[in-house]
Structure formats: structure tokens, C-alpha cells
Symmetry: none
Subunit: 195 residues, 4 copies
């Protein structure tokens, strides 16, 4: 799934970290706890990561990579722009609904970082946001979307809206189905941009 050139322990540490971060939050997670979870010695972690924070960013990049890969697999050129947008939301919601640890990581832990880290995360997120942007552009070009909205603003409104829906679902204690929100969410967005 992930590139494969990195050694097993690299991934073992990431998976351990995902679990520990999700349980205790980044600041309260001890490196030694992650090491134990990953089945390696404390020092070994520093053969693969420069600092504790690097584990967090690497984790995010790996997981975001997996998500983008899933999206790329899920999307194809025959789809209408609406179908594509629907697919994006569906995968976004279903991946997080299917991996609560990951959901905690992205919605809670990754926000627990200072501005520097947020910028790094923002950079990584760009790939995802550009993917949304491409769909919007395509819809504009083929005439299925209105020509008079600002792509750079609307991509934020769409991403931010989806993000808030996930966070709200998570904080509520996952009492309802997240994927069930895909339809109404896309309905709302489409009204805003459809011709």
C-alpha cells in the first residue's frame, strides 16, 4: 500500500504512534509508549525520525498519501463533475468512519500543533485541495457548473464544510452514520455551484 522502500519498523512505529496519539493525544503521548507499542526500543525511533514531532507529520503524510491514492483510484475521467465531487466526499467520510484512530488524528491531534507545523500540514493538504479545485475547474469548463464563482474560495468552503461535519460527528461520539451525510452535503454544495 505505502511506497515499500521504507523498512518494516518505520511503519510499525507509525502504526504504534497512530494508536497512542489517538488514545492520549500528541502532547501526552510518550515516545517510550510508542516504542513499546511498535515493539522496538526507544532509541530505535530516532533512527527513523529526527524528533517526536516528525512522527506526527510523517504519519499525516503517509495517511494523506493513502487517501489521495484511494481518491485517484476512485475517480475517472468518464465521471461528471458532480459524480466526482460525490466520490471525493464519500471516500473522505468513509475512510475516516472506518478508522476512528485516524479520524482522531486528523481532526484533533493534528490541530494540536504550532503554526510552523500547521503550515507544513497545510502544504500537504494542498494536494487534496487542488484535487477539489480540479473538479471545480472541470465542471466549469464542461458547463455543468456555473462560471461565476471563485474556485479558490469555494474549494475552501467545500473542504471546510466537510471537515466540520467530520469533527462534529467525532466529538458527538459517532452517534450517527457519517457516510449518510454524503448525499445531503453534496446536495448543498451542488446547489451553490451547479448551472
Amino acid at each position: 500500500m505505502t511506497s515499500g522502500k521504507k523498512p518494516d519498523k518505520y511503519y510499525a512505529i507509525l502504526e504504534g504512534a497512530l494508536k497512542v496519539f489517538a488514545e492520549h493525544g500528541f502532547h501526552k503521548s510518550q515516545v517510550s509508549r510508542i516504542a513499546k507499542e511498535a515493539g522496538v526500543a526507544d532509541g530505535t525511533i530516532y533512527l527513523y525520525f529526527k524528533k517526536k514531532e516528525d512522527i506526527l507529520t510523517s504519519l499525516f503524510q503517509e495517511k494523506l498519501g493513502e487517501l489521495v491514492e484511494k481518491l485517484n483510484n476512485g475517480l475517472n475521467d468518464q465521471m461528471t463533475a458532480r459524480e466526482a465531487l460525490n466520490k471525493v466526499c464519500e471516500i473522505h467520510f468513509s475512510v475516516l468512519e472506518g478508522n476512528i484512530h485516524l479520524a482522531y488524528l486528523t481532526q484533533i491531534e493534528l490541530r494540536q500543533s504550532d503554526l510552523e507545523l500547521r503550515k507544513e500540514i497545510g502544504l500537504a493538504l494542498k494536494r487534496y485541495i487542488i484535487l477539489i479545485e480540479n473538479i471545480l475547474e472541470k465542471g466549469k469548463k464542461d458547463g455543468s457548473f456555473r462560471p461565476d464563482f471563485e474556485v479558490k474560495l469555494v474549494r475552501l468552503l467545500i473542504f471546510g464544510g466537510m471537515d466540520e461535519v467530520v469533527t462534529s460527528w467525532l466529538i458527538s461520539g459517532q452517534k450517527y452514520s457519517l457516510t449518510a451525510q454524503v448525499g445531503p452535503t453534496i446536495d448543498f454544495f451542488m446547489k451553490g455551484i451547479e448551472s
Copy 2:
């Protein structure tokens, strides 16, 4: 601005904290630094706040209170639902654009908290989200909004969208006018809900 029943030092500490948190982030802000900024002794802080974290939540609640007060002053019953929504977005954006420290606090620092604190914040935010909900309900009732969208979902999409726009503006380095985004943002939302 601040109510007045709390002693001056209470507000002095909050203002000091707002500045220090915005500069260094919550976790890297030392209590002694806040004390110095507020012009009080370290120990004095603990006469007004039980723990460092309490400064953060109090700050949030005070500032959210001010925001909601501004909104209540800005809104009135003669407004159409669209005008009301526009006003909310305008005040939301202009308050944060006018107080960068506060913007950092809400968009960056307040996210740096564990699940427990997030829930507390979520509770406080409810007042704001319900205010949006009321506008949506009103629009539905008077027929200016479509009857077939889910208020509880759309309020999240609207709040989340605005939130993301602010964060994006902040992380970009405030290179453009945030208030200039009010019109297009509301345009997009209105398309989604207008009859």
C-alpha cells in the same frame, strides 16, 4: 468592553495571555511570561485561574461572549434571513481581521487542546451555531429559504466553511482582505439554501 464585575487584574491577565499565546502558542507559553506581560506576579495568576488551561478557556469564553454580543447588536428582526446571514459572516470576519491575536487564538491555539477541552469549547460554540440555526429556521419559515435542506447539517457546513476561510487567510499570512470574502461566501451559501 469587559463587564466590570471581575477585577482589573483578571482582564489584565487575559489580555497578557492573548498576546503570549498568539506569539508562542499555548504549549510553549510560560505562565511566568504571561504574568510579566500582565504586570503581575506569577502567583497572582493562580488567584484568578486554577490552572494554566483555565486561562485559555476563560479567554475563549470572554471573547466568544463579546462576539455574540456584537452579533446580537448587529442583528434585528427586520432583516431578511439573507441579510442576517450576511451580517453574521461580516461580523465574524471583521472581528478576526481586526484582531490578529484573537484570530491566532481561535484558529490555531484553541485547536491545540485535548478532546476534553475540545468538548468544552464545542459547548461554548453551540451558542454561536444555534444563532446560525435560528436564521436558517427563520428563512425556511418565511419562505425565503428552501424547505428541503437539513438545518442541523447545513449549519455545520456554513460554520465550517467560514472557519476554513479564516484559517486559510491566517496561514497565508493575511495577504488579502478577509472581509472581501464575505460577499462571495454568502453568495455560495445562499445558492445552496435559497428558494
Copy 3:
């Protein structure tokens, strides 16, 4: 009972301290807690005592004064040496059995002091130990005690023995009568010194 030239608040503070020290121990007792117990302001304590430690030593001296006074009232020249020794032990045990707070203070808290303070306490105790010494001397003189024991050693053995009996009774949770130990204790001592 106590001299009377000191103002009421002096004694109020001592009584408050006796209670608080007994409950929490000297080091864990806050001055403000004592103030509250005594019904005075924190600062008031420093009008009567120079430092927190002074409360402890004053308390000890007041209470020891009361004990010595009780002993002086209880003893008289018509008593045999044995009767006198018996009276000392009886008063010692009954006073502490009748005032558990005081027992905690003398057996536990007063030991929680550094060498300097212990010396001060030792000095105050001297009055008590000399009282025992006088009885031993008297018994030697009137022939009821053997002439061949070292008074300065035996007074320690007697005091130490009684002290250990009290501490042991206290730590055991006061499960048995302390005053019931007077007879056997004096029996043992008398065997050691009687002609």
C-alpha cells in the same frame, strides 16, 4: 489555665494550629488553614508569631507548661518516691489519652523538625526530665531506691520507655487503654531501682 497575659487571639491561633497540625502534620499544614480555623486573617498570625515554626514550638511550650503544672499540682512532699513516679506516669498517660490531638502533636509532629528545633524541644523537655530526676534523687536519699544506679541514665530510660509506650499506643490506633499501662510500667521501672 494558661498565664493570661497573652491576648485571646494568641491562644485561638494555638488551638487552631493544634487541630490542623494533628490532622495534616506540620509540613502539610498551611498557615492560611490555621488562620481560618482560628477565625483570624492570615496576616494576623504574624503579629503573634515570627514564623510558622514558632507556632509549633510555642504550642509545645504552652502544652508542656500545662503538663508540668498538672504534675506540680498532683505531686506533694508526703508522697513516697514510688507514689510520685506513679503519679508522673499516670498524668503523662492520662493527659495524652484525653487529648488525641495533643498526642499526635507530641509523638508525631514535634519529631518532624530539624536538629535545631529538636534541640529547642529538648531544652523545654529538660524541665520534665529534671522532675523525674528529682524523684529519683529523693528516692535514693530516703533509702527507698537503691544507691547504685546512675540517675542521669535512668531518667532517660524511664522517659524513653514511657514515650515509646505512648507512641506505640497511638500508632496502633488507640485500640487499648493507655492509662491501664501505668501500673505494669511503673512495676517494671521500680524493679530496676527499688532497694
Copy 4:
């Protein structure tokens, strides 16, 4: 002397603590001072002891263990009860006279503990007090001691007496020989219990 199954640093820390505690008292001894004395880093102490207080109790238990071992080596079944009691007192006094730091620890510092700790210490001391009890029982059985004294009381009177003699000698500034007190001390006790 020390068992050997515990790592060297464990004992290095204990010896450092013994010295520092004796010099400054438990409460005024900083952990960092002990670390420096032991030649380890501050944090290292917490690899071997959970809390500062644990150093004190471990120290006590190690040293008491050594004392009891010395007593067991010094006693044998051929001794009369009187000889055994004499040996106990002799070893008790000589060990403390030969190690002033240890004497300070047992007579001053260990008393500086709250009730909870005192109970723990009392538990450890039980081994020692039972050793005295066994001698008393044996003397009763072989007829060298009177049958009519209460073993459970007298063991306290004996232990308390010896303890007070040591403390008094220590506080006096060790101006006289402690071991010289063994004979008279035992004489006094023997009078109390001998047939």
C-alpha cells in the same frame, strides 16, 4: 555488605542520600544534591526510586536489614537471656556510635515523616522488636526471668529506653561514649525482669 542483586547505582544513591539527609535533614535535602553526591544525573534517581520519600524508606530498610543481620550473627543459642539482651544493646549502640550519619538518620530524619510513613517504619521495626520479645520469652521459659511481667509492654519499655539514650547522646553532641552506657542500661533492665 550490600546484597549485590541491586545495581551499583542503587547503593551509590542510598549512600549519597544518607550523607545529605544527615547533613541537612530530609525536607531540606534537594534531590539534585543527592544526585550530585551519588555521581549520577537527577533523572537517574527516578530510575531506581519512585519518589524522594522512597529513598528514605529504602535507606531505612537496607540499614535495618544490616543491623538485624549483625544481631543474628552476634546472637547464638548458647547465650543466656541476659547475655543476649546485652549483645542486642551493645550492637545497637555500637553501630550507631560508629556511623553518625546513620544515627542522625534513624534518630532525627526518620521521625520527620507523616503518620503514614511512621506506620511503614513501625512495620519494619517490628522485626527488631520481635527479636527483643523472643529473648524475653526465652528468659521466662528457662527461668532466668520472672514469669510475671508483660512481654508486650516490656519490649517497648526496653526499646524506647535504648532509643531515648541514643537520641539524648546524639543531641548532646556525642560528648560521651555511647557504648559505655550498655552495662548500666542492661543492669537497669535486668533488675526489672530477672528472677
